[in-house]
């Protein structure tokens, strides 16, 4: 086989592995989410379904299969009042975008060169599109397409709850793209690359993960990531209590399943991004090594470390769902524009200073300085407190009432 054919086969194998892994992961994350939800509420959660056609229960590990079959056998309803073309296009576009993002997200480091596959003499990168220079821009371009899926679904459903969900979603996602980008910009500025593998390698080489250097950027990115993946406490696009499901109210069967998988994949995506950008990706001190010389043991260890970190972030996402109440919509917007955006700007400026002068001072001074900036910015945000509201009548109340009429 020629060189081109080999690399094509390599890419196809990686795509197949990734798709299989992601679909299985999404199914089992649903089970995990239901378990966590149940345990937090002092229930037992799904623990009955086991191996099909037997009486083996296996802690409910057969539940994803049952859930999937249920969705597949459900009636595929297309309501009469919807825009048929957009109604079908919306879930497809959101799922396609959510899956395509993983082309640039590394799910490990590299496999050693003596891997034993005939014809392959080089190290195999554990990412579908290795060496993709604009990786992060690609991620953000595709995550913006997810907004289209939500808005199209809400619009095409021709239903006021769906429409409100779509509107809320568009406002929220556009507002939080900015802090997300600013949180990211600090990392890109410091590590000097848009390529996710390079960012991991830089953190591994220095041994200092970005969270130690950029706590403020991490907070901004984390909050924005929660909002972007529309998870509680930022799930206003689909809050069941107010919008009976929001933009996917009118969806059923496989198309609903596509939406739900896409939502879970968004969560997995941002968990990967958080780990890669701020927690050093596959790197762990004294365990995985830091350079490109890998043996089989370190290669597998790196994959495991990365997956463990991602699972930890996902568990935090699931716990956060039950820990804090949902924001009101004006608080959501205030948080984005008056808190997270200035904080992100402060972080970018601080990182720029660090990147320029950081090499002339010891590392610990830089770390200390960045933490001082983070705590200071947070205290200023607390003193300004743009989210605190006061509904009591005050001086000038009458005037305000009159002018608003």
């Amino acid at each position: 086989m020629t060189e081109v054919q080999i690399s094509a086969v390599e890419a196809l194998v990686k795509i197949a592995l990734l798709l299989f892994g992601l679909m299985t992961a999404a199914a089992y994350l649903v089970l995990l989410e239901r378990w966590i939800a149940a345990w937090v509420q002092d229930r037992l959660g799904p623990n009955r379904v086991g191996v099909p056609l037997t009486k083996i229960k296996a802690f409910g590990l057969g539940q994803p299969l049952a859930d999937g079959l249920k969705f597949i056998f459900k009636e595929e309803i297309t309501p009469k009042h919807v825009d048929k073309f957009l109604y079908t296009l919306a879930p497809i576009s959101i799922l396609a975008a959510a899956l395509a993002i993983f082309a640039v997200i590394p799910f490990g480091s590299v496999l050693p060169a003596d891997v034993g596959i005939p014809g392959v003499k080089h190290q195999i990168d554990l990412v579908v599109a290795p060496g993709f220079d604009v990786g992060l821009i690609y991620v953000f371009a595709l995550s913006s397409i997810a907004v289209y899926g939500v808005i199209l679904g809400g619009w095409a459903s021709n239903n006021k709850y769906s429409f409100l969900g779509g509107l809320r979603s568009s406002a929220q996602l556009i507002a939080y793209e900015l802090p997300l980008g600013l949180g990211l910009l600090g990392v890109v500025l410091y590590n000097g690359s848009l390529q996710l593998e390079t960012i991991i390698n830089a953190q591994a080489a220095s041994g200092v993960w970005n969270i130690f250097l950029q706590p403020l950027g991490f907070v901004v990115f984390l909050v924005a990531a929660f909002a972007e993946s529309a998870r509680l406490p930022f799930d206003l696009p689909e809050c069941e209590q107010e919008l009976i499901g929001g933009y996917h109210t009118e969806y059923a069967g496989m198309r609903l399943l596509m939406y739900l998988i896409a939502e879970f994949l968004h969560m997995v995506t941002v968990s990967f991004l958080i780990v890669i950008l701020f927690f050093g990706g596959w790197h762990f001190w004294g365990l995985t090594g830091a350079d490109a010389n890998v043996t089989w043991a370190t290669a597998i260890l790196r994959v495991l470390v990365l997956m463990a970190k991602v699972l930890g972030v996902i568990l935090f996402f699931m716990m956060a769902r039950w820990s804090w109440p949902r924001f009101r919509f004006d608080q959501l917007m205030t948080l984005a524009w008056k808190v997270m955006l200035p904080m992100g700007l402060v972080n970018v400026v601080a990182v720029a200073v660090l990147a320029e002068y950081g090499s002339s001072v010891p590392m610990w001074i830089g770390v200390l300085g960045m933490w001082a900036v983070a705590v200071g910015a947070w205290i200023v945000a607390g003193i300004a407190a743009p989210l605190a509201t006061d509904n009591r009548p005050h001086a000038g109340f009458e005037v305000q009432q009159a002018s608003s009429v």
Binding site: I36, M319, S323, W378, I379, G382, A385, A388, F397
Partner: protein, 177 residues
């Protein structure tokens, strides 16, 4: 009523403080609460394997039973007081001449329609000889309506099934036995 109505009594809210405005107590409290419950004891009962606690079995109102005396005979004297007291009319008794010398009548047939029964316990209250009692059996199931109509043999078998766990309650509750 407007917000500046003089009748509205505005209460001073407790101050959040700087830490509160920085969302720190909220963050910590929320996460500790959920973590505590995550590992805390669960209230769900895995029903067929584990049985729910039904409180005091002496006063729980579940499936009926017909008590037997020391010689294994049915205690009922077919006085019809339970059937008269029953608000759901679910008790059907056919009395007959007693074969035993210590009483005049005994029930030839004693049928309770468990589907009509409202488990009010009036039959138990009415019975002068503590023959009918409500047990703490709560999973009453059947595959047909006929199966849920309990005859004398069935009700006596419920006694055999429950007599060890639930001795006749009359002595403790001040009954006539």
């Amino acid at each position: 009523m407007k917000a500046d109505d003089p009748n509205v009594n505005w209460i001073e809210e407790p101050s959040l403080g700087l830490a509160g405005k920085m969302y720190l107590p909220l963050f910590v409290e929320g996460l500790t609460t959920t973590t505590r419950h995550l590992f805390g004891p669960k209230v769900t009962v895995s029903f067929p394997e584990a049985r729910p606690k039904s409180g005091n079995p002496l006063i729980y109102r579940g499936v009926h039973r017909l008590n037997k005396d020391e010689q294994g005979r049915v205690k009922c004297v077919a006085c019809f007081l339970c059937a008269t007291a029953c608000p759901a009319h679910c008790i059907d008794i056919i009395g007959a001449e007693s074969p035993w010398p210590d009483r005049e009548k005994y029930p030839e047939s004693f049928v309770i329609d468990e589907l009509r029964c409202i488990f009010c316990g009036m039959c138990e209250e009415a019975c002068p000889v503590d023959a009918i009692e409500l047990t703490s059996l709560l999973d009453l199931t059947g595959r047909s309506r006929e199966e849920m109509i309990f005859d004398k043999e069935k009700l006596l078998s419920v006694y055999d099934q429950t007599k060890d766990a639930e001795p006749m309650k009359s002595a403790e509750l001040g009954g006539t036995v």
